[in-house]
Amino acid sequence: MNRYPLWKYAIMIVAMAIGLLYTVPNFFPQVPAVQVSTNKPNVKLDNALLGRVESTLKTAGVPVGYSALDPTGVHIRFQGGDTVTQLKARDALLKELNQGVADGTGSYIIALTNESTVPKWMQSMNALPMFLGLDLRGGVHFLMQVDMKGALDRAADRNMQDIRSLLREKRVSYGGVSKSGETLVVQFSDAAERDKAQVAITTSNTDLLLREEGSGGDLRLVVTLKEEAKKKLADAAIEQNQKVLNNRINALGLTEPIIQRQGVDRIVIQVPGASDPARLKDVIGRTGTLEFRHVEAHGGKNASQLEAAKNGSVPFGLELLTDRQGEQILVRKQPIITGERISSAEPAFDGQNNQPIVRVSTDGQGARILREHTSQNIKERMAIVLIEKGKAEVITAPTTQSELGAQFQISGNMTTRETSDIALLIRSGSIAAPMEIVEERTVGPSLGAENIERGFDSVKWGFAALAAFIVVYYMVMGLISAFALAVNLLLLVAILSMLQATLTLPGIAAIALTLGMAIDANVLIMERIREELRAGAKPQEAISAGFDRAWATILDSNITTLIAGIALFAFGSGPVKGFAVVHCLGILTSMFSAVFFARGIVNLVYGARKKLEKISIGTIWRPDEVVTKPATLDAQ
C-alpha cells in the first residue's frame, strides 16, 4: 500500500533537480563590472563599439576578464575584479567614448554595475539569482508626490498667456484677463467682441470650457479646463516628470534604477547600491521650474533704471536678479515661455567656430511664442531663470542675435563644462509639476551586508535547531521530515529565483517563519501515525492512514494561513509585500514537500518491506486504556 508508481518518483527527482538548478545561481558571487549603454536613439550598440571598448581598456592597461555584447549594451568584467580597476575602466571609457563628459549628455551611459558570475548555460535557462532588496544591498528608495494642483495652476498660467496673444492677434478688444486658482476670467465691454473671442478661443484650444457671465457693460468669459483635459494634463505631467527623473538619474550612470508611477500622482524611485545618496537626492530633488524672461535693464541698457532698482526701487512687474557672473540685471516677472515648452537641450559645438554651445529645441507652441517675442526684440537680452522654492536664479542671460524658432542655440564664451551644466539645468527645469519627496529609505551598503548575514544566520540556526529537535523526537521519520523541510527550503528559494522576486529582510524572515510553520504538516502526520500505531494498527497501515487522515487538516490549516498571506500581499507595501509573497509561496511548497515528498521517501524506506514490524518514529506510549475510547467516568 505504501508504494509510489515510478512517475511519482520521477516527479520528485525532477523537482529536486529544478530546485537545485534555480537555487544554485544565488551562490555565485557578484563582481564589479562596467556597462556601456545609451539612451540616444541614433547611437548603435554594435560589435564596433565592443571592439572600441576593448581596445580602449587595453591601452589604459585594464585587465579585461570578460566582455560581451547584448541588447542592453556592452558588459565588461575584470581579472581580479576589484572596484579600483572598475573605476579606472570607467574613467578610461568616459574619456574615449564621451570626451570626459560625465553628466549623461554624452552619447553613451557608462555605468558601474555588479554582474553575476553565473555560467552562460545557466543564464540561458533563466537560472539567475534573486534580486536583493534595498535593505540587503544598500540603496535608496524615494516616493515622490506630484503636486497636481501646481500642474493645473501652471496650465492656467500658460492658457492665460495664450489667450492674451490670441486675442491680440485676432484684434479682439477685451478688458483684461485675470486668474483665480485654475479659473481664468476675460473681461469685455461689448457682446460682439465677446462672441468673437469665444469663437477664437474654442477653435484654437479645444480643451477649454467657456462660460458667459455678467450683463450690460460688464461682460465676462469664464475659462476653465475640461475634466478630460485635466486628466490628460495630470497624466502628461506625471509622464513628463518621470521622463525627467529618468534622464537625470541615468545621467549619473547608476545601476538599474527603477522609476515607476505609483497610483494616481506618485512616482517611486529605487536605486540599488547607490554609493552617493546625497548627490542622487540633490539631483532628483531639484524641483525647480525654468522660465525664459525678458531682460528689462542691464549694464548696457536702461542703466539708470538698474541703478534705481539696486537702490531698492524695483518697478512693478520686474525683479532684480544676479546672473552667474555676478552681474545684476532687471528682468520681467512674467515669463515668455516656461520649461514645459522645452523638448530638449544638449551641449554641442558650433559648426563654424567650434565654440561650445547649448542647442535647445522647443515644441510648436513654444516656437510660436518665441518667434513672436524675439522678432520684436533682436539684440535684447533674454534671461533663462531657474526658480527653486520661490528663489529665482539666472542660469544664463544671452543676447538674442536673431529671430528664434523651434530650434536655437545659446552661444558665447562658455567652456564645455558650462555648456553641459546649462544644458542639464535647462533639461532638469522642464518638469511639468512640482514634486515633493514623501518617503525616503536610504540603507548604507554596510548595513545591507549585515542584514544579509543576520537573515542568513536566523534561517541557518533556526533550521539546524528545528531539524535536531525533530530527529530526536521522531527518529528516522523525523529525519525524513527534516529532509522534506530542506527540500521545502530548496524549492522555495528556487521558485523565488525563477520569479526573479526581490528578496528583502522581511522576506528572509518569512522564509524562516514559513519553515517553522511548515513543520506543522510533518508534525500532524507523525502524530497521526503514532496515534494509529497506539490504536494497534499495523505499521504499513498506520503510515498510510496517518498521511491520508492528516491531509484534510493540513489543507484546512494552510488555507487560513494563505488567506492572511494574500491579504498582506494585497494591502501591504514594500517590505511587507515581500514578506507576503514568500509566506504564500512557502505554504504551497510546504504542502508539496511535507505531503508528497515526505510520503515518497517514507515509501522508499518502508514501503517495500512486506513484513514491517516497526517504524522508527520515536516512543509510542500506550496508556492502560485506549485513548480513542473516551474516559467518561474519569472526566466527571
Binding site: V438, F469, L505, A512, A564, L568, G572, H583, T619
Partner: protein, 329 residues
C-alpha cells in the same frame, strides 16, 4: 521520545469558567494598556525621520541628544541600537520645513564642525571619531496615514476571510469562536506593545496578521476533532467531546508551536534589531496562540451552544470513503 502521556482526557471544560475569566482579565489589561498608553507607532505609520548611525567608538548618546536638540524638532528619541557603537535617532514630522532634508540636517548637526562630512555625505570624521550614516528613513505624514489605513484594511480582510472560510467549512459558531480567540491573541500582542512602549511598525503588523492566520490553524485542528468526535462518540456529552478533542490534539499543538518558536527564537537571537520587534510579536503570538485555541475557543463554542445536531446533521451523508469508514468504526 514522547512528552505527552495522558492516561485520560484532561477535564478542560470543567474549568472553562476559570479560563474564561483569566482570558477576559488579560484581554481587559491589554485593552487598558492600549487605551491608556496607546501604541507607540513607528515612522511607518506616524511619519517622521529615523537615522541609524555607526560610531567607531562607544557613542556618547547624551552628546548626540544635545546636537539633535539644536534642530528644534520637538520630541526626539536618541537611543543605543543593539550595541554601544550604534545609535538610533528618531524625529517627528516638523511643520513648515522640508522634512525630506531632515536626514542630512540631522547628520551634519551630529557631526558638528569638528568632523568634516565626506563627499557623499554619509560619513564624517576620521579614525575613532568617524561616524557613519547607515540608514535614513523618512516617511511623510500622508504616506504614514495611508500605510496605517491599508494595514487596518488588511486586518479586516483577514478576519472576514477566515470567518467566511470557517463558517463554510464548519459552522458559524466555530467561525465566531475562532475569530474571537485569535483576535484575543492580536489584542494581547498590541496590548503588550502598548504596555512596554515597543515600536509598532510595518513588520510588526505583518507579524500580527501572520499570527492571525497561523493561530486559526489550531482552532481548525480542534474544531476538526470536535466534529469527528461528535460522529464517533455518540453517547458522550458535549464537554467530553471537547475534552477529548483537546487532549488528543494538544501534543501536536505544542510541538508545532514549539517548532515555530525555535525558528522565531533564532530570529530573535540572530536577526538583529531590524527583526527584533517582528520576532517579539511572533513570540507573544505563538505563546498566546496555544492558550487561546485551547482555552478560549473551546469554551466559547460551548457557550455558543454547539451540539451534535448542528454539526453532524448539517453535513448530510458522508461522501468520501474515508469519512464513511470513520462513522462505521
Amino acid at each position: 521520545m514522547e512528552f505527552f502521556r495522558f492516561k485520560r482526557d484532561l477535564p478542560f471544560m470543567k474549568y472553562a469558567l476559570i479560563f474564561n475569566v483569566i482570558s477576559a482579565l488579560t484581554f481587559l489589561v491589554a485593552v487598558g494598556a492600549l487605551a491608556y498608553n496607546g501604541l507607540h507607532f513607528g515612522i511607518d505609520f506616524k511619519g517622521g525621520t529615523v537615522a541609524e548611525l555607526h560610531f567607531n567608538k562607544t557613542a556618547d548618546v547624551a552628546q548626540v541628544r544635545t546636537s539633535v536638540e539644536t534642530l528644534n524638532t520637538g520630541e526626539a528619541f536618541v537611543q543605543n541600537f543593539g550595541s554601544p557603537t550604534e545609535v538610533l535617532v528618531r524625529l517627528p514630522i516638523v511643520q513648515n520645513i522640508s522634512n525630506a532634508q531632515m536626514g542630512e540636517k540631522l547628520f551634519s548637526a551630529i557631526c558638528g564642525p569638528s568632523r568634516p562630512l565626506n563627499e557623499s555625505k554619509n560619513a564624517c570624521g576620521e579614525g575613532v571619531e568617524k561616524i557613519e550614516l547607515k540608514r535614513v528613513e523618512f516617511v511623510g505624514g500622508q504616506v504614514g496615514r495611508e500605510l496605517f489605513e491599508s494595514g487596518a484594511l488588511a486586518l479586516l480582510l483577514v478576519i472576514a476571510g477566515i470567518m467566511m472560510y470557517l463558517a463554510i467549512r464548519f459552522e458559524w459558531r466555530f467561525a465566531v469562536a475562532a475569530i474571537i480567540a485569535n483576535l484575543h491573541d492580536v489584542v494581547i500582542i498590541l496590548g503588550l506593545f502598548a504596555l512596554f512602549g515597543w515600536e509598532f511598525n510595518l513588520p510588526v503588523l505583518a507579524a500580527c496578521l501572520a499570527i492571525l492566520g497561523y493561530s486559526v490553524n489550531e482552532s481548525v485542528v480542534i474544531a476538526d476533532r470536535v466534529r469527528e468526535n461528535f460522529r464517533k462518540m455518540r453517547k458522550a456529552s458535549v464537554d467530553e467531546v471537547i475534552d477529548n478533542a483537546i487532549t488528543s490534539t494538544i501534543s501536536r499543538t505544542i510541538i508545532t508551536h514549539g517548532s515555530t518558536q525555535i525558528m522565531v527564537l533564532a530570529m530573535l537571537l540572530f536577526g538583529g534589531e531590524t527583526l527584533h520587534y517582528f520576532a517579539l510579536a511572533l513570540t507573544i503570538g505563538i505563546c498566546f496562540g496555544i492558550y487561546s485555541s485551547v482555552l478560549v475557543m473551546a469554551p466559547l463554542i460551548r457557550w455558543l451552544g454547539v451540539s451534535r445536531e448542528n454539526l453532524v446533521k448539517a453535513e448530510g451523508p458522508p461522501k468520501d470513503p474515508l469519512e464513511a469508514e470513520k462513522i462505521l468504526a
